[in-house]
Subunit: 330 residues, 2 copies
Amino acid sequence: MGLGIEDIAKARERIQKLVRKTPLLMSTQLNNWLGHDIYFKAENFQKIGAFKARGACNTLAWLQENGEFPKHIVANSSGNHAQAVAYAASTMGIPASIFMPAYSSTVKIQATRAYGAEVILSETRDITDHKVREAAAEKGTYWIPPYNHEHVICGQGTSAFEVFQDLDGVDAIFAPCGGGGLLSGTLLASRGLSPKTQVIGVEPLQANDAAESLRSGSIQRLSGVPDTLADGAMTMAVGDITFEYLKQLDGFHEITEEQMIYWTQWLSHLLKCRVEPTSAMVMDGVCKWLKGAKSRKKVVVILSGGNVDQQTTLKIWAKDHLQQLPQEMR
Amino acid sequence: MGLGIEDIAKARERIQKLVRKTPLLMSTQLNNWLGHDIYFKAENFQKIGAFKARGACNTLAWLQENGEFPKHIVANSSGNHAQAVAYAASTMGIPASIFMPAYSSTVKIQATRAYGAEVILSETRDITDHKVREAAAEKGTYWIPPYNHEHVICGQGTSAFEVFQDLDGVDAIFAPCGGGGLLSGTLLASRGLSPKTQVIGVEPLQANDAAESLRSGSIQRLSGVPDTLADGAMTMAVGDITFEYLKQLDGFHEITEEQMIYWTQWLSHLLKCRVEPTSAMVMDGVCKWLKGAKSRKKVVVILSGGNVDQQTTLKIWAKDHLQQLPQEMR
């Protein structure tokens, strides 16, 4: 099926009571420094601390609407999707089993358990993926994949949908790229509600399977667990559904770890938010895109999440980047 | 003059366009763990990242209202008050000189300068205090002190004023104690709008001049720069005006550095906010107060600010406290 804006609108209606309408944040100081207006759609204040709650809730609510309510939910994820499915399942009273790689951040494992889900840890992502496939074969079990799924995509698109209900004249909207679910949904919402807005993806250079896929025209897989602080963008490959949407993006940027850390510090400081490196890296893409802009631009950044564990926090703050002002990044 | 609720109401009206109405945050997970309802008045989202913007703006707006608008503003502070005065002065177009001890956090010094104020650094707090006194003697110069001043107190009280406009049935409201300005204003607002609410102060054990003053019945000074991460509570002594209000508090708690760090991590994680240790330590006072509570309580915590530099961030996150759930702190 070809998804359209009406599918995002229906998803928005479906999940309205299950998720939060997240705020749009601004920093006057950042806008003065950059000379443009940047709005941050704060999905770190979403239920479970990330946009992923939207896709999981939409999928379960859609199943319920269509009389296909499962007896058991399973999912595989290294983090935010795990919590999202655990949250959605607990809200709707269905038992959930979540398969996670052991390298997942402890706060994400802990939170998934706190929502009442059973957590099964495996050594690698591949074993995790194998186990969830086995579990999903059981009768009455429904597997909610992290991104390559139409109802997940439509759920994620409700974030941009809310943005365009509140803001017009947006020149560009940026989101990070993991498996491509958030970007696919963002593209659908943008093309439907604000067709002049450019939709731009951002990915860590250290985990640039999507950029490589876009360059080569076919889906490329990472060869091993990538060495990046952006744990939300560590997916091994985009999906066949999301790839079709990613091809329609107006731009795509690859970000170094140094730039990612720089912006994680600065967005934490300016917005007074806990921000995942996966979310903050997007700002470097914004700066690249703004270079050479002749007029004041209105830009939206989807701050995808705020779940950061202690080890990652120490890595982010090891060096002081707050000494170098963002105006020097123009 | 005896201050009353009408003074807080007037302050609220006076500064309405200059400061933000900050949101009330909640964490469902924290409330489940503690078995009570905790609301956080998020002054970290206030202009300059702390409640101090309220007092500085109220003082300048009051001077303007009374035809006593100065030509030059001076202030002495190790941090948030410095930024607050710089912000208020720039908003109203008056030049400002801020005297800060050199140990002040770099992000606070930098932000004070970014608001256009001249910053004069001195080696110790005492030299800073001496220099500001000299500068204030110049004609046409007005000195906004950090806490021991009626219009500063009334400005700070507008935070609790907003709380009681939005919430009723609050059993207790908690705030940190530095010089006592925030607590004095909070007491005035609470007694006026919600007389049954207990007003409770919290101070680091390592900088417990207020607790010592309350025990002895007279103002006690710290003997040297205190060794605490709560830089907002490092004031050497409370003031004669604020001490009179502090005596009327319904409770007062002293917090260890370990507990302060524990709650800074957990509030950052649960609320997805950048929170100063000075603000987060209050939660330990809340837990102590809740011990033995027989019914579900409604508690408000004033999260005073969110300005934390890189060095302090590293100290906060050196050890992983997120492994121990808050329910074990009950």
